[in-house]
Amino acid sequence: MDLALLWTIQLSGLAAFLLIQLLPRSAKKIAPAIGIALSFLAAAASAKLLLDHANGFGLPVQFSHPWLAVSDRAVWPNIPVERYALFVGFLLDPLNLTMITLVTSISFFVQLFSFYYMNEDRSRARYFGFLSFFSFSMTGLVLSNNLLQTFLFWELVGLTSYLLIGFWYEKESAATAARKAFVVNRLADLGFYLGIILVLILFGSLNFTDLKSQALAQVLPPATLTLVGVLVFLGVMGKSAQFPFHVWLPDAMEGPTPVSALIHSATMVAAGVFLLHRAFDLFSASATTLLVILSVGCLTALTGAALATIQRDMKRILAYSTVSQLGLMTMAVGAGSSTAGFFHLSTHAYFKSLLFLTSGVFIHRFHTNDIWEIGQKGGKNDRLAIGFLAFGLLSLSGLPPLAGFFSKDLILEAIKEKNLFFYSGALFVSFLTAYYSFRMFLVIARGRIRREERPHAESRALKISRNVPLLCLATLSLVAAFLGMPSFHFNFEMLLTTAAILVSGGGLAILRFRDPEAAEQKLLAGKTFMQKILERKFFIDDAYEFLVKKVGLAIAHALNRFDRTVINGLMVNETSFSVMRLGRLAALLQNGALQDYLAWAMTGGVLILFAFLHFYRGTP
């Protein structure tokens, strides 16, 4: 029974994609309906699975099927496994279950919301096709039972994010952002690819069930263990936008907002943290890997939060906040408790996609991303949107009863036990989170309305497809918080610290942004040194630019000229031209004068005569 459900979840996305592609041009209008229906089917199937295995009985369930027979022992004698092959299959255990329900539910709500958001866009069919293809690859990634299949769908997810970021490909910036996202992901995936191959060669099996830390420790020496751990973590860094590879996420906002809600806040970027939790034994096998994960997580959290404080574009603020929250989750895993990281992942997925969808509502209505303009155009009149915005931002900054508080609390506890330096970093991050959340809310809510933009009338279907997802996501974030909580122990001291952070962060934001117009003038007047650096995004983008343009392409250019001049010119053309020149030289001999020919003949004769004389010493 489970296998049937798993197959339905997995293939519903693919079926939707193929159906939409095969639709004749005339029937393209019903594409959204197909997309939404099949994503609902997937959500229902995963809900059913959740109910069947409510408290984890009968798990883990595993189905695997040999996909690629790789080799035998002749190649690498020291491999424990006799004839090892690469497998493809499903694995179902508590972690997968929560993740699959999260993915399918959010993708259903986003598809529903997209019906509202994309109803004027002409190429809607292609959009829903790609969205369903995304849910297919994401479910594949989540349900896979070995590292290689994760990598397979990892790349497919990267592809769909490329297609969806570059959905409006007429826009030059969207196309470049899409390419940038794919190439940066690819750069990180190289490490992942190499890590998988090393594990395959040295350890022999890629199944998560076999990757136990003791088994790994026996076979692999500590140095290679760290190497493999860091390499696989490199892949995670790419997908979950960790420090050096976070540059693509803010640019990914070029895509439609529901895409950002689904892919760039909840599911895809969470795939990295999911993998951290899934293959936790691989990382926890060596302490240095955990340290690396912790430090990279902290660095990401700090940069994300810092950059979010100065952004004017609503989606960019949320994007940077996602980067910093992902940094937090990685720190949690780095601190040794991957359950805390995963719990924060699930709660964050819900309220961050809620935030993105609300920003979608604002952008759809006011056709601008800039929070100051939204404020001026009467952002606060849209009661519903402001309410959800407040709910989302408060849960993001960790107000006690809401989802954010519980998960962030757990993370802070975990990091506190690990070491204090990172704990202080985490605190500072949550302080910044509170600051930019309140800043955004205040600028929109308290903006003095100049040119009011009345919302154009909407049909009932559109209203439903707009409000239902928001409502459900909000409730689900609360449900996830209470249901998914691993173990609740009231830690009074932690409650105090988070409350203090919330008040100080919020207070500072209120102080500065009570009157948005004045704040804007002050901002425009003079930029402090710190703001200038933040504006330039710590010069990371410029570093990438330099690396790619000056170094990479310069080498390519040099090689190209080398290829043209040396190999092509010198070796090939020169040899042929020299042969031709030789030919012309020989032609000079044929100058038509008979007697010259005779003379040459005679000289030949004389030479032969003297050679004959020289060699035959008059033997009779």
Binding site: W67, A69, D72, V75, Y162, Y169, E170, I197, V572
Partner: protein, 486 residues
């Protein structure tokens, strides 16, 4: 002799088509096209049957056909199929079938065009099937001449130069190859051109093996666009007409790699092991160098030309590892890359016919104007950069596993090529297909039904073998094990 000589049937189909085409008068162009299509589909059907009835459990040669010709010199017309060449025969059949369909819009001297195509393909089939060195060389020469004619008459940019360069390079390769064969023949205990007898009763001493292998490898390497000799293939690709470059990149370059496996490695294993290090380094240059230079190209066909050089590097790397995994990967890459480049050239050819330009900057916004051809090109590009679910990914995976296993440093650096390939493929896609629609080619129409079929067949093959690679590996793994003395 098996009851129905399927191999000779596959070979004779294009030959019969050729004769029929030559007989039909020049003005019945559609008749000529249908005749050649009939011949091509004949070979395709027969090859599919061959693959189906090919017994994957039997490691030895199957469907052996043997005709004594010149007994005293050991030259006989003998064909046989084992793991190595069954996939390549299928590849050739698919590529020629799609090639004929793609060149349905050729209007200039139709009869000669299709005659040359069939002539070329029968040469290639001959090479893949034969187990006699003499016929190997004979069919190889048959394949080279029509390629020259196709480029010189129907080619595009600086076709004379490119055609001459291509032919001279290929003949250089064949000369080296033939020198090797003659030397092998001249050895006292050999005195035969037949591969099987050579393998059984001739034992080459290591020093001879080293020199002989080097000669043969250089001969075949020129054909497989090994690093220093790769220059002819991008120019050849650019100048050739669509169908010719499909056949050329898709199939002709695989002749070299197949030759290395079938002749050089089978007869001279120690020589192969001796030079394996050098081949690995050269193939690394191939991969990284080809990819880096491809980033600098403006013309789409040049990009694909250099990407073929880079992908052929992966094949050579697979061979250099001298392991069963490496060989399986190399053979798989030969097959997958053949189909992928054929698809690439089919798309670029169609775009060139429509917009009369191949410069990526001059083409813009093709996705909006011609969604189908753009999707095919993007699919081919994605397969090129090794997207999972497509054939090339599995091939690169196998080769990289073997490479990291035997030459760790080379294996790791070869992976960077995946990144560079992603970069130049996506830049090309962005310049040519995304961005605002370029008014210059506003009248460019999308694929009609007839042109849709060949490209769909190619994409179908890529995805089928990407999802079910074990089908391919069952054909191949037994004979590569035998090849390495398993």
């Amino acid at each position: 002799m098996s009851p129905f000589p399927i191999l000779s049937a596959i070979l004779l189909c294009p030959v019969a088509g050729l004769i029929l085409v030559l007989l039909t008068p020049r003005k019945f162009e559609t008749a000529i096209k249908f005749l050649s299509l009939l011949a091509a589909s004949g070979t395709l059907v027969l090859s599919i049957i061959l693959c189906k009835i090919f017994n994957t459990a039997d490691p030895g040669f199957q469907f052996v056909e043997h005709l004594e010709w010149i007994k005293s010199y050991g030259i006989h017309y003998s064909n046989a199929v084992d793991g190595l060449n069954v996939s390549l025969i299928l590849l050739t059949a698919i590529v020629i079938f799609c090639g004929i369909l793609v060149s349905w819009r050729v209007t200039y001297r139709v009869k000669d065009f299709f005659a040359n195509m069939l002539f070329l393909v029968s040469g290639v089939f001959g090479v893949f099937m034969t187990t006699n060195l003499f016929f190997f060389f004979l069919f190889y020469e048959i394949a080279v001449i029509p390629m020259y004619l196709l480029i010189v008459i129907w080619g595009s940019t600086n076709k004379q130069y490119a055609a001459m360069k291509l032919t001279l390079y290929l003949l250089l390769g064949s000369a080296l190859m033939f020198a090797g064969f003659l030397y092998m023949y001249s050895l006292p205990e050999a005195r035969t051109f037949d591969l099987l007898t050579l393998k059984q009763n001739v034992h080459f001493s290591p020093p001879i093996q080293n020199i002989l292998f080097l000669g043969l490898f250089l001969g075949f390497g020129v054909l497989a666009a090994c690093f220093p000799f790769h220059v002819w293939s991008p120019d050849g690709h650019v100048a050739a007409p669509t169908a010719a470059s499909m056949l050329h990149a898709g199939v002709l370059m695989k002749l070299g790699a197949y030759g290395i496996l079938r002749v050089a490695v089978t007869l001279l294993p120690e020589g192969a092991r001796h030079w394996a290090g050098l081949i690995a380094v050269l193939s690394l240059c191939n991969i990284v160098y080809g990819a880096l230079v491809a980033t600098q190209q403006k013309d789409l066909k040049y990009i694909i030309g250099y990407s073929s050089v880079s992908h052929m590097g992966i094949v050579l790397l697979g061979i250099a590892t001298m392991t069963t995994v490496g060989f399986n990967g190399a053979l798989f890459q030969m097959f997958a890359h053949g189909i992928m480049t054929a698809l690439f050239f089919a798309c670029v050819g169609f775009i060139y016919d429509g917009c009369h330009t191949r410069m990526a900057d001059e083409l813009g916004g093709l996705s909006k104007q011609a969604p189908m051809i753009s999707t095919f090109f993007i699919l081919a590009g994605l397969c090129g950069l090794g997207l999972p679910g497509m054939g090339s990914f599995v091939a690169e995976l196998l080769v990289t596993i073997a490479a990291v296993g035997t030459y760790p440093m080379i294996g790791i650096t070869s992976i960077t090529a995946l990144l560079i390939t992603a970069f130049y493929v996506l830049t090309a896609v962005q310049k040519a297909f995304y961005g605002p629609v370029n008014p210059h080619h506003a009248d460019f129409k999308d694929l009609d039904w007839l042109q849709f079929v060949p490209r769909a067949v190619l994409v179908g093959c890529l995805i089928f073998f990407g999802i079910f690679p074990s089908v391919f590996l069952n054909w191949v793994s037994l004979s590569t094990k035998i090849l390495l003395g398993g």
